[in-house]
Symmetry: C2
Subunit: 301 residues, 2 copies
């Protein structure tokens, strides 16, 4: 089955890139295939200077080999050889009124037949608007509910905890869903159903993002909006390099640096002691960047 998961993910990559090109209307993905010396390889598709997307990556990989001590440590596994395949997306839009979005689907399998799925979708608006956040969370909840009525709440909290920029005491954005170690053992759902869930998320991704693009793309952009976007991109860099376990593990364990750091924004700024004005949209956004907000409650606002 692992080969068919890989194949479905690479097809999904193609589908998503096509849909994102349609959504963008200008940019095109450039394909970069690479081989991993120790086994496997990947296809990293990047888009640059589109009409909507300033810099984005949709990266597929399939790697296998011996379990290293770092993997044992970080992943807590006891197999001796592994197979891992995944699809990762990060899109940095041009407009500060369109959110940054991230998606990941990953599958691990070991020679002792243990396996798990992980992944999720989360949103990082430069400006948090509760109604838009509700739309996003509602889209995710609808998919989750088809598979288990427990998924959404559990995975939503997991995202709140995972995407937390602890040294700033703020969440990266408005979260979304994050899950890991999903298997028959942990969910009582068959492997095929769990993969279906991941694939459904992947297929829904372009539609989910399209809604967020539509909500923001016609909003006028001021100078302060642009400054703020650069600062928020700086926070995105901080989260990914300081806290994100996937990024840290990848970089330390000798993963492919260019593909891992595909998530970096095209540009980012840092200002010492930046203070948002009282009651400004920037301050409002900061006030929203916390865990456990029930975004769905803003659906009718």
């Amino acid at each position: 089955m692992k080969k068919s998961i890989s194949n479905d993910l690479i097809d999904l990559q193609g589908y998503i890139c096509l849909e994102l090109e349609k959504l963008d209307g200008l940019g095109h993905f450039k394909q970069d295939d690479w081989i991993r010396e120790e086994g496997g390889g990947g296809r990293t598709n990047t888009i640059l200077n589109g009409k909507i997307i300033e810099k984005g990556g949709v990266a597929f990989s399939e790697v296998y080999g011996n379990v290293t001590p770092e993997m044992k440590n970080q992943l807590g596994i006891d197999g001796s050889s592994f197979f891992a395949t995944g699809l990762s997306i990060v899109l940095h839009p041009k407009s500060p009124h369109i959110p940054i979005i991230h998606m990941n689907i990953r599958f691990f399998e070991f020679d002792n037949k243990n396996y798990w799925f992980g992944g999720g979708i989360d949103l990082t608006p430069h400006y948090v608007i509760p109604y838009n956040a509700a739309i996003f969370h509602n889209d995710l909840k609808n998919i989750c509910d088809t598979y288990s009525l427990e998924f959404y709440q559990k995975f939503k909290s997991w995202a709140d905890d995972y995407f937390f920029n602890a040294h700033r005491c703020e969440t990266r954005g408005i979260g979304g869903i994050f899950f890991d170690h999903l298997s028959h053992k942990s969910t009582l759902l068959p492997k095929e159903t769990l993969f279906e869930f991941c694939m459904e998320l992947g297929k829904a991704f372009p539609k989910i993002y399209k809604k967020q693009v539509e909500l923001g793309k016609n909003i006028e952009i001021s100078e302060i909006n642009r400054t703020w976007q650069q600062l928020r991109r700086g926070r995105y860099v901080e989260f990914n390099l300081v806290h994100d376990r996937g990024t840290k593990f990848g970089l330390i364990s000798g993963g492919r640096t260019e593909s891992i750091l595909l998530s970096m924004p095209p540009t980012a700024n840092w200002v010492y002691g930046y203070q948002a004005f009282e009651n400004s949209a920037e301050q409002e956004t900061l006030d929203w960047l916390r865990k456990d907000v029930d975004w769905l409650s803003f659906m009718n606002n």
Copy 2:
């Protein structure tokens, strides 16, 4: 003695800021005093949009309190309360032909009377020019040699190892000197002499940087120079957030985030799979970013 070390460091901060203002000719430092709830505080001086310096910080701190488990872990100490004072500098120049510079002096003391000094100065040119690197290393060697003929070589290698951006397989810049855990026990030099060494480095800092500024400030800046500078700033961010032990420790242990991240450049860019042109100045720089280069050997070139 610890209080007099603090006092000397805060005087040194004042002296360095004054000298840097003279060197810059336009920018002025803004003083930001802060208090640490658990004990101590600091003075963070920042300069923005000068003629030479685009963004820079000269930060003094004096903190004390109980030794936390994180400190025990990271610093390998067995005292129960600590005193730490230090001065940190990072300057990001406007011109890509002037290097980024970093300096640090730090002093730790514990209730069991154990103490140590640490610190160093290192240089991160956007474009590596061996002769300029030789001037810099020669300045450092001259100071080191006054105190011990072993210092320069030992501390130079230490800097090569410390300022290594492992996931990029390149050094951050051309290194300099880095030292830690200097005490009477480890060096056979009296505590006063070790502090004198640190202070002499600090006093020499503005002169050392002035030479590097003079070497680069009249070189014309092309569009590719500017692009390259932004990418090198991106690497500086990567080193500081992924590898720098001081930054990581500070952020994880609840240090003052704004002061720790003073080292961030004003702006930075990331490009997927950037390739420097063959035989270009950019490629030449990449070729120099390795450990164990004997920069002093370029003194007469």
